[in-house]
Symmetry: C2
Subunit: 374 residues, 2 copies
């Protein structure tokens, strides 16, 4: 319905969706190869999938056209795909209207070391822009706004993701002990998630756990990664965790300690937890995002750590590890809306305090308040 | 040296490298964020890194310029980066010459379900093409050819990767038993790799294990993934394995069986193993790649399975899970050269035989023959 409105409002031939997150958003379909393209017209949706895509993950209720890909004799699958998409457009005479799709969704981490989604290949963007005689029309604001509303079906899927993520958090607390390396703890956490594939409704499950301990936590606001450092006594341990189940994402941060942590360091954890609780307690439709950031930031400031909170309070989440759209950033005048899911993740990090701490949960905005998913 | 030759031959202002694999190839530097850019001029190399990049992984012997990224107050880090790169070009008057970089490196799996490298963001490609007054010149064939030669330092790094991969293979044989789910076996394999971080010279280690069992192996030439299916008695088990250590990649396939596999199915494994051995035994500089594919394909054909070998015999590997460049494909007239590393991976898959099998190793071409790395 939202998609049809965008097509009508902008007088488009159709919308094209390609990113894994876009296909989850539109069809609850998490592609295996990442080479499936949904052409959404006013009267029909057509999904182009590589013929190598597993049959059992294809969505129902949509026309599916397969194109040769990754098999001998098709050195340029994109051309093949391009021609098939172009052939579908002339029906009903819409080929004189422009198409629209999101060219750029913003860049976060692009290497394979973390959980970010890959960008659209550049050559394909250029070709798709010219696929209709009507050219390309940029409707990115409207299309990106689709991420800001999670339907009740999306929420059920996100609850499953958080059910799996809860096991990962358990594995973290169980394994984060002295003598283990950061990477070994990460391996145990990630393993606990992948092992859940096959349990009810879990078809795909993968985690990226980034564990920092002791002085390494001081960098927790700059980067997250797991090294070969062993956890020592009296250390704080930070876990940044991405969990993807069937294409739906959770983004969680938890703190553990090995015995002997100083009261001074525990205080840092307490301050971020208090700041988080303060901000969450205010969440409901209509609340200003910048105000939420300010509430948490002011609390941390009053505790003397204001200069060590070096990032925004939160961002939208669910279809990606980091959804696009307005976030809980300083000065933002965007407002919370029902159906949004956001992280709330205040942090304090510094060499001067020899540590860092962050607590992060995922919050659903309801009609009259909020619900903590994580 | 090779880079300087490309610059001189094409009269360039400089070369730009960005992909994780390109930075490993040029600097043995595997970026954390994937947002580092190397501008290689005839007289100087300058590496632009986000200020959030971990200090301890930055390469030596190259000028490093940091740019703000991912921190509050810099909503558009690419603009900042772009301006910094542009500022460096006018030195020595080369800004009237074109720059070159690889716009498109070919598309394999693009979703986060496998180990492929992400493509370059499209908007950045457009901007970088216009960064010099001299414009852009396409030198892709010369730049992609850099992947086809692994230096002795690269080989040392690839040996480390294969040392880690050997542990993963051990974990596979140890865990691939009846009653375990495919995903649970994959979790054990991946965990065994990540746990090696911190051992000598291993700074980053990550594996993607894709386990198929029983009838699922029939799809091993179409896609690889781990499901919740439990391994049963009398089943073949296929593991497709990607291992990345410090940015250097191995791509290996192994077969296991649970007790009770039929002689007919074991014969399929034998045929692919024989085909692989035949092809490998011929490998040395000057040998035609298409001929190698034919040798393996003909052997499989003589065994009656020719129509079930549905992909090429192999591809280059090392800087990526799949390196660009010529591969062991039917009809290819490219030839093996010293310093190349290639997979050799014949396979037979089919519903009609209710199974599939592939054996895959990574082969270094030496001055007078070959060496098996895996």
């Amino acid at each position: 319905m939202a998609l049809r409105n965008i097509i009508q409002r902008n007088n488009l031939a159709g919308l094209i969706f390609w990113r894994p997150d876009e296909l989850v958003l539109t069809l609850a379909y998490f592609p295996h190869w990442g080479a499936s393209f949904l052409v959404y017209r006013e009267d029909e949706a057509v999904l182009f999938v590589p013929e190598t895509e597993p049959e059992d993950i294809l969505p129902e209720g949509v026309r599916i056209i397969k194109y040769p890909w990754g098999i001998i004799g098709y050195p340029d699958p994109w051309s093949n795909l391009y021609n098939k998409i172009r052939d579908v457009l002339p029906d009903k005479g819409v080929h004189k209207l422009p198409v629209s799709f999101v060219k750029n969704i913003g860049g976060s981490a692009l290497s394979r070391t973390s959980a970010e989604q890959p960008p659209l290949p550049q050559d394909l963007v250029e070709r798709l822009s010219a696929i209709s005689e009507g050219g390309y029309k940029d409707c990115s604001p409207e299309l990106l706004d689709l991420y800001a509303y999670k339907t009740s079906e999306d929420i059920v899927s996100l609850e499953l993701t958080h059910h799996v993520a809860a096991r990962a958090v358990e594995a973290f607390y169980k394994n984060a002990g002295s003598g283990r390396t950061e990477s070994s703890v990460a391996a145990s956490v990630e393993s606990s998630v992948q092992e859940m594939v096959g349990e009810q409704r879990v078809r795909f499950a993968r985690a990226w756990a980034m564990i920092q301990s002791g002085r390494n936590t001081a960098w927790g606001g700059t980067y997250n990664r797991s090294t070969g450092k062993k956890l020592g006594p009296g250390e704080m341990v930070l876990m940044e965790l991405a969990v993807c189940v069937n294409g739906y994402w959770a983004d969680i941060t938890r703190m553990a300690q090995t015995p002997g942590v100083s009261a001074r360091q525990l205080n840092v954890i307490n301050v971020v937890s208090e700041a988080q609780a303060l901000a969450i307690s205010m969440m409901k439709p209509g609340i200003n995002m910048g105000d939420l950031d300010a509430v948490a930031r002011n609390h941390i400031g009053r505790s003397g750590f204001g200069h060590l909170f070096n990032h925004a309070l939160g961002h939208q989440v669910g279809f990606r590890y980091h959804d696009p759209g307005a976030g809980l950033s300083p000065g933002s005048d965007a407002v919370l809306r029902e159906g949004m899911v956001l992280t709330v993740e205040p942090g304090i990090y510094g060499i001067e305090i020899e540590c860092g701490a962050r607590v992060e949960d995922n919050i659903l905005i309801t009609a009259d308040g909020y619900r903590v998913l994580s």
